[in-house]
Symmetry: C2
Subunit: 346 residues, 2 copies
């Protein structure tokens, strides 16, 4: 008689991508809904609307092992990354005085600012606790402890830099890239890093994973910043020009003001939303930002190709890249696995 344990010995247990993604959503949801009573009204409110889960997807994709299965520990790591992200959103919304988030009332509008600051702090703490409890990562990476806090510092400095440059219409492109590299790309890189550590991939592939993570993050933020000037409603669920109205200066505007020198003065004096959108487009601001996206995209494609991955992992990384860039995903994940639905995806 066959010993079941032997049959499943290699890889030793493991989850399919869809299973891991579903379990991550459950883990996040359960952490929010079962928080201590004193903070549960706030965390339950947050549980009512879920995000896209792109950081969890990134981590789980990178964690795919040779046989197409994922170490169950990756679920905790992915949930940690999503909760960290949620913590930054809660604090961001206070700073930006945003009224809505993910289609429902922003936390501070419902519970007050004090309460929201503290809830953000709480989410930050439980995310760290969760990440610290991932045994495989701790065992493998001799510098794991240094990396996650290091990424958090980078994110924080990005937020500080953005806040400092609020309504700074003379901001340089260089400063913009410093900001998004911190506030967004650092957490994507962390997600790729954690996924890589759980993947069993050899050490010599690490730097490619980190660079890929950073690129996906840059693409994600650039695409989001473009959508502020493009669509009728941003994919984040926020209305168009919401960043602009909050004084957040992004690449399409920076470039447009460089190309059209009169625009800077008109912006400083106050300009109507429709006029601004048209001017940014006409002055080539969007085109320029899209060019940057394509640059990162092409670099990422090369990195993926060079990683020499099994088809599912490669396809999923490609799909992630497409999602980040705002392109509709083309079912590249392969017919075997299909495009799973998941609660994290809104």
């Amino acid at each position: 008689m066959t010993d079941k344990r032997e049959v499943f010995a290699s890889p030793p247990g493991g989850l399919s991508f869809s299973e891991a993604l579903g379990m991550t959503a459950d883990e996040v949801n359960s952490l929010l809904r079962s928080a201590p009573a004193v903070i549960r009204p706030q965390t339950s409110h947050l549980a009512a609307a879920s995000g896209k889960g792109i950081r969890a997807r990134a981590l789980l994709t990178c964690a795919l092992r040779e046989g197409g299965l994922i170490d169950p520990a990756a679920v905790k790591a992915a949930a940690a990354v999503e909760i960290l992200h949620l913590a930054t959103l809660v604090h961001d919304d206070i700073i930006d005085k945003a009224k809505k988030r993910r289609g429902i009332a922003a936390l501070h509008t419902r519970f007050g600012e004090k309460s929201a600051v503290l809830c953000g702090d709480y989410l930050f703490c439980i995310a760290l606790q969760l990440a610290a409890a991932v045994p495989d990562v701790k065992d493998r990476a001799e510098n794991y402890d240094e990396t996650l806090p290091g990424y958090l510092t980078a994110i924080c400095l990005g937020e500080i830099r953005e806040n400092k440059n609020n309504r700074n219409y003379n901001m340089s492109e260089r400063e913009y890239f410093k900001i998004i590299s911190g506030k967004t790309a650092a957490l994507f890189e962390a997600s790729f890093h954690l996924g890589f550590l759980l993947s069993g991939e050899p050490e010599n592939k690490k730097s490619a994973y980190l660079e890929l993570g950073r690129s996906v993050g840059m693409i994600f933020q650039l695409a989001d910043d473009c959508s502020d000037y493009e669509s009728t409603r941003k994919r984040s669920g926020k209305p168009v020009l919401s960043d602009y109205k909050n004084g957040i200066v992004t690449l399409p505007l920076i470039r447009a003001m460089k190309n059209d020198t009169s625009l800077r003065e008109r912006v400083k004096q106050g300009i109507a939303a429709r006029e601004l959108k048209a001017a940014v487009k006409a002055a080539g601001g969007l085109e320029y930002a899209h060019g940057k996206i394509y640059g990162y995209y092409a670099g990422a494609e090369k990195l993926i190709a060079a990683l020499d991955l099994p088809p599912e992992k490669k396809d999923r990384l490609e799909a992630l890249l497409q999602t980040a860039s705002g392109l509709p995903a083309e079912g590249t994940a392969g017919s075997e696995t299909g495009r799973e639905t998941d609660e994290l995806h809104e």
Copy 2:
């Protein structure tokens, strides 16, 4: 010829307590003064006024090894604990709308609330980064990663609980103890825990160190809460009744309102500061809180005795206990080492 390395092999290097304390102050100062330019105005402002450094003292005292020397890694851990504490003060002062801290302007009054929230977040991140870089702790404690974030969550929940009970004059004594156990005692316990891990002491002494740390923290907060109703200026540098004025309900008042049933109504309707101080004292609120301090103090004395420590370590723990309880230290640290002056002590 004697090989120098052999002579100093046991303990392998190491710092005296005074050296370690001075280096901790330098480390904190240097981290604040050399922060990235984008946040340096804020961190430099904080560097201009130092605290008592009691948490650093606690950690370094617990880290004293058999031969009276301290692992240099303890300096980083002690600096991390002090910076974490500073991070909580920055956020606290926003929430309490405090105008002063450590004798100078509170950060948010000088730089605005957004900036202060972000600076607190930044300090939190660099403290974690610093703590994570302590190699000996990481090697020794298989659950280190779980403990520090666990303590942080406890601190955060204490703050949340306190905020929720703001101006709740029906708050129970039990709720009060839950609050201070989180907001204050957790970081003291963490300091004792980290110090213990670096001390080379056997595992079977761990629980005594943790309980001692928690007791010192409870004593520290109880004494601070008493001083709000006692002295003309609190040892924290804040004016008397400042907690009360911020709606923070503490044990002397809780007990006084229980003993003097008319006081609760008078408090709810608004009562003059002098009258309140007299009433809390007359109704036995201060006496009761001091009784609680003595209870923890006696328990801590027993724990120290049972730990069976070398004289310097024992004396320093006793001195710490006295400092926490607000009693003047009696030079118990021994004539050999004396009472060192240090920059952290204000």
